[in-house]
């Protein structure tokens, strides 16, 4: 194979290559398109200011068995190294959500809900209980700043 073989690995891209690559791009775009909100999501996620953030895992996000109702709220439990917590997200019917939360170990940790419209902040009471009244629908991320620590704990980005 000579160095200037146009079809070899070192050959320059020609029109045919361009066409093939466009076809491949079209193929992937049709078969497995990027989510429409991918860029927004990435932008939203990288804007988090703290560099030292522990991201917690979702350990339970489903309807509970053993009760006589069905989904009208979302209960999500998160577990991490520093704190565990649970939130109950309820639609208010006017496009906003009420969030109730419980933190363990209980202490007046600072709680921030990041939304595209800016952060909403509150603080848990000494028993580890917090609530936020009106969160707009869209992306959210819960960030807990545990008392007495410099690092923060964050959930992955979620959509309300």
């Amino acid at each position: 194979m000579s160095r200037d073989d146009p079809d070899g690995p070192l050959g320059k891209l020609d029109d045919l290559d361009g066409r093939v690559l466009r076809e491949v791009r079209w193929l992937w775009e049709s078969l497995d398109p990027a989510p429409a909100d991918l860029v927004d999501r990435i932008r939203f996620a990288v804007e988090l200011e703290d560099s030292e953030v522990e991201v917690v895992r979702v350990i339970e996000h489903r309807e509970v068995a053993g009760v006589r109702g069905d989904v009208h709220s979302r209960m999500i439990t998160f577990a991490g190294g520093t704190v565990d917590f649970m939130v109950n997200v309820q639609a208010r019917g006017d496009g906003t959500y009420r969030v109730d939360g419980w933190l363990s170990p209980p202490a007046p940790h600072e709680v921030e809900v990041r939304t595209p419209a800016g952060p909403l902040r509150t603080s848990a009471n000494e028993d580890g209980r917090f609530a936020l009244g009106r969160i707009p629908s869209g992306f959210v991320q819960f960030v807990i700043r545990p008392r007495g620590r410099t690092s923060a704990v964050s959930t992955p980005t979620m959509t309300l």
């Binding site: 339970e60 489903r62 309807e63 509970v64 068995a65 053993g66 009760v67 006589r68 109702g69 069905d70 989904v71 009208h72 709220s73 209960m75 439990t77 577990a79 565990d84 917590f85 649970m86 109950n88 309820q90 639609a91 019917g93 009420r98 109730d100 419980w102 933190l103 363990s104 170990p105 209980p106 009471n125 028993d127 580890g128 209980r129 609530a131």
Partner: protein, 831 residues
């Protein structure tokens, strides 16, 4: 050649009538190029083109065209130009000119046999009367138009003219408060428009929104308008667009959002101005001033602006709007304490045929004048008269949905009366105003909407969709298409009910003395809660006493209830991390502590050791009372109003068959039903595959006691579709409203189904409320989640006690004693 011109003219008329004036104008200009100037048709073409220009907002151009047409018109066609000129006058706000032009045209036409033309001009004059607030004259013209048009048969576009007359009749009915009748008229018109005028369907949506607004359903009105506003740009209906914006402003105002209301009103005003429609721009200005006042900006500047606007509206020929502006001026002066100036603007009196809102507003302002001048008697009299008007209005509604929707003026009248009553302080006066200002819908006899074929089909489809959606949900996915279709069906079914007339008549108010006697008989005290500014108050009425007690801050109490209910949901039915469980239980204790302190402790001395009958307000309707330590083991009954409690207490029916139903997808429901079947050996049991909606509805009709152990779901946003899951789909609150008879006593061993949506005036809607309205005396249901397994023990204990003859309140108190977190509440009558 002239055939081609005639064809173009006909097509242009079609386009304009279908809401596409620009297309029509193009066709007409082409026709005018082809037409012979000397032909009589030319005048018609010019006249129609003028109409198309008006529809696009070019009134100046339209007048030029009409002047041009005047020169070539034949005597026979004169009326056409007169009425077209009249239309321009309407749209530029010269109502009196318009009326004499129409009168002239109608006089000329009555001398000829041009019946079709006469029909059309009658329609237009009817609409003019309606805009100017002359409802009776409007109805006379519109009825004559509809009759004449119908006699002419389907030629010459008559069905559409008749439809427009019926449509206009509906608009008049909205003004007189006959909402079901208006909605029926709109339906009739819609059928014709669907065939021959898509554009008019959009206009109809705007009118339907105004009807819903008048019925006190502002968010429903906003939904209709959203659809309309989305369609309007493509239809290019400038005037209708602006009118819809104005209605949107009113809807936002009624929903308590004055800032948003002002934005919409301002937008409408600009659009009307741009179209040189001074009349409607002035009406939009009135909406802006109303929004200013509602936002608390009751300055003298606003008062003066309203007074000036009143004069302008009067000179424009809009009497109703002028009156409203005057009343607003008076109200604003009152808010500044300037009673003398306020009186000046209150000099008028109700005209016969004035719209309900104007009449209510006058009562309200007069009541406020009484309060400002320390004339309590006047405040009571005016507020009472206003509420009586409103009651009469609501009595015309057959659907509970409309009966419970109160106009915001109703709420303000009730507040004015209640404030005066609190100032007066006499227990029976306070009692009477509490009774008068809440749960009025309970005093209307229930009306069952006759189910038409379409609704029956829609309900069947909805049940099927709900079942599919539920199946998807259980598998952890969500069928969004099915959900969307379900929302649409729910809306259709619900809207059908709005068209039903009320049957009139209502049950009497139960007096103070009577209530005290009944309370003594039941060894009970009555606690009625009310919000007074930022604080909660309670009136405690017993056999011998009546106290008005101050409780905690409203916001703190309502927040504690919201937290408690979320805590209960979080604690229920899941295996939790012990540390988190600890946090949740600590919170439950803390909220119960807050609620005891602010809600109950101040009442305890007055309650003594009696049974308790509670009349909640707002968020208190979702309070799990039995969880409070001081009430544990004590019979507690929750009722919408004292009158509702007394009538439930006095109802006695012989015991009859028992129905037990076990719903699907629960581990312990069959067990519960089996155990209860041993307590009631002759009961009908529907479990497993037998627990279908049809079986349940057929059996529930005949039963005096019914027990459902199933999944329950409260729909906050669409309460009539709150439901119990059965094996083939849900049994909905809507189904309950259709039942000819409901059991005396219903136990809903399900989650959440005791919750309600609380409308102004503490009118409640929900599954439990549906049963109570339909005549159930006692409903036991839960205001939060219920643990499947624990429910079995509680319910078995409850029914064992009932079977021994223990009254429901006491039976429930005993049954939940060992399960401290069971959020069941006894509604209606508890013994």
């Amino acid at each position: 050649m002239s055939d081609r011109v005639r064809d173009l003219h006909q097509r242009a008329i079609e386009e304009i009538n279908s809401g596409r004036p620009a297309v029509g104008a193009r066709l007409l200009r082409e026709a005018l190029r082809l037409a012979d100037r000397a032909e009589p048709l030319t005048a018609r073409l010019l006249g129609t083109l003028a109409a198309a220009e008006v529809a696009q907002g070019n009134t100046g151009r339209a007048l030029e065209l009409l002047d041009e047409a005047d020169e070539v018109v034949t005597a026979e066609d004169r009326h056409l130009l007169l009425s077209q000129r009249a239309l321009v006058a309407v749209l530029t706000g010269r109502m009196d000119d318009a009326l004499s032009l129409f009168d002239d045209a109608i006089l000329r036409l009555r001398r000829t046999d041009q019946k079709a033309a006469l029909t059309r001009v009658l329609l237009n004059r009817g609409m003019l009367h309606q805009i100017a607030g002359r409802v009776r004259l409007a109805l006379a013209d519109l009825d004559q138009c509809a009759q004449l048009g119908a006699s002419l048969g389907p030629d010459e576009g008559m069905p559409r003219t008749v439809a427009k007359a019926v449509h206009g009749r509906g608009q008049c009915r909205v003004l007189t408060g006959d909402i079901p009748g208006a909605l029926r008229d709109f339906d009739i018109a819609a059928e014709v428009y669907a065939d021959q005028g898509q554009g008019m369907l959009a206009v109809l949506a705007g009118d339907r929104a105004r009807a819903l607004l008048a019925a006190g359903l502002p968010s429903e009105a906003a939904t209709e308008l959203d659809t309309f506003l989305k369609r309007v740009p493509e239809l290019r209906m400038g005037h209708e667009h602006a009118e819809a914006e104005l209605t949107m402003a009113r809807a936002r105002l009624a929903a308590g959002d004055p800032a948003e209301a002002r934005r919409w009103a301002d937008r409408a005003r600009l659009h009307f101005r741009r179209r040189r429609n001074d009349t409607w721009a002035a009406v939009a200005e009135l909406a802006m001033l109303r929004a200013d006042f509602a936002a608390g900006n009751g300055t003298v500047r606003v008062a003066r602006a309203a007074a000036r606007l009143a004069d302008r509206l009067r000179s424009l020929g809009l009497r109703n709007d002028a009156e409203e502006a005057d009343l607003l001026a008076a109200r604003t002066y009152l808010a500044r304490g300037r009673t003398a100036e306020a009186r000046v603007h209150l000099s008028g009196r109700d005209r016969p045929g004035a719209p309900l809102t104007t009449r209510l507003l006058r009562r309200l302002v007069l009541a406020e004048l009484g309060a400002a001048e320390g004339d309590q008697r006047r405040t009571f009299a005016e507020a009472r008269a206003g509420l009586a008007l409103l009651r009469e209005h609501r009595g015309r509604f057959g659907s509970l949905d409309l009966q419970t929707g109160t106009t915001s003026l109703g709420g303000e009248l009730a507040r004015a009366g209640l404030a005066a009553a609190l100032e007066n302080g006499r227990p029976e006066v306070v009692y009477r105003w509490l009774e008068r200002s809440r749960a009025q819908a309970f005093r209307f006899p229930p009306v069952r909407t006759p189910a038409d074929e379409h609704t029956v089909d829609a309900v069947a489809e909805l049940r099927q969709l709900a079942r599919e959606a539920r199946a998807a949900e259980l598998k952890g996915s969500q069928d969004t298409d099915a959900l969307r279709r379900a929302r649409q069906l729910e809306r259709e079914i619900r809207a059908k009910g709005w068209r039903t007339d009320g049957v009139g008549g209502r049950s009497a108010e139960v007096g103070f003395g009577e209530v005290k006697a009944e309370l003594a008989d039941a060894d009970s005290v009555l606690v009625s809660f009310l919000v007074d500014g930022g604080r909660l108050l309670a009136q405690v009425v017993g056999d011998r006493r009546a106290d008005l007690l101050g409780l905690g801050g409203t916001a703190a109490v309502f927040e504690a209830i919201a937290r408690l209910r979320s805590d209960l949901d979080a604690a229920c039915g899941r295996r939790l991390h012990p540390a988190l469980e600890q946090v949740i239980h600590t919170s439950i204790r803390r909220q119960l502590g807050v609620l005891s302190e602010h809600l109950l402790d101040p009442l305890l001395p007055a309650i003594g050791d009696h049974n308790v009958v509670l009349v909640p307000t707002g968020a208190l309707s979702a309070m799990p009372w039995g969880l409070l330590d001081a009430l544990r083991g004590r019979p507690v009954t929750v009722t919408p109003s004292p009158s509702a409690w007394v009538s439930a207490k006095r109802t006695t029916r012989p015991a009859g068959p028992v129905l037990l139903v076990g719903g699907p997808n629960l581990k312990h429901s069959s067990d519960e039903v089996r155990r209860l079947a041993r307590i009631y050996p002759d009961s009908t049991v529907l479990d497993g595959d037998d627990a279908t909606v049809d079986n349940a509805l057929a059996a529930v009709n005949r039963s005096s006691l019914a027990h459902f152990a199933s999944h329950g779901h409260h729909e906050q946003e669409n309460v009539l579709f709150s439901r119990l899951d059965l094996v083939d789909g849900p049994l909905m609150a809507h189904d309950v409203h259709q039942l000819a008879a409901v059991p005396d006593h219903v136990v809903l061993s399900s989650c959440d189904i005791g919750q309600a949506v609380v409308r102004a005036g503490d009118e409640i809607l929900g599954f439990t409320a549906a049963l109570l309205y339909s005549g159930s005396r006692t409903v036991v249901s839960s205001v939060a989640r219920v643990d499947d397994e624990a429910a079995v023990e509680v319910m078995t204990a409850y029914h064992r006690a009932l079977a021994r003859g223990v009254p429901p309140g006491e039976a429930l108190a005993d049954a939940t004693r060992s399960e401290p977190l069971m959020p069941f509440v006894c509604h209606g009558w508890g013994g």
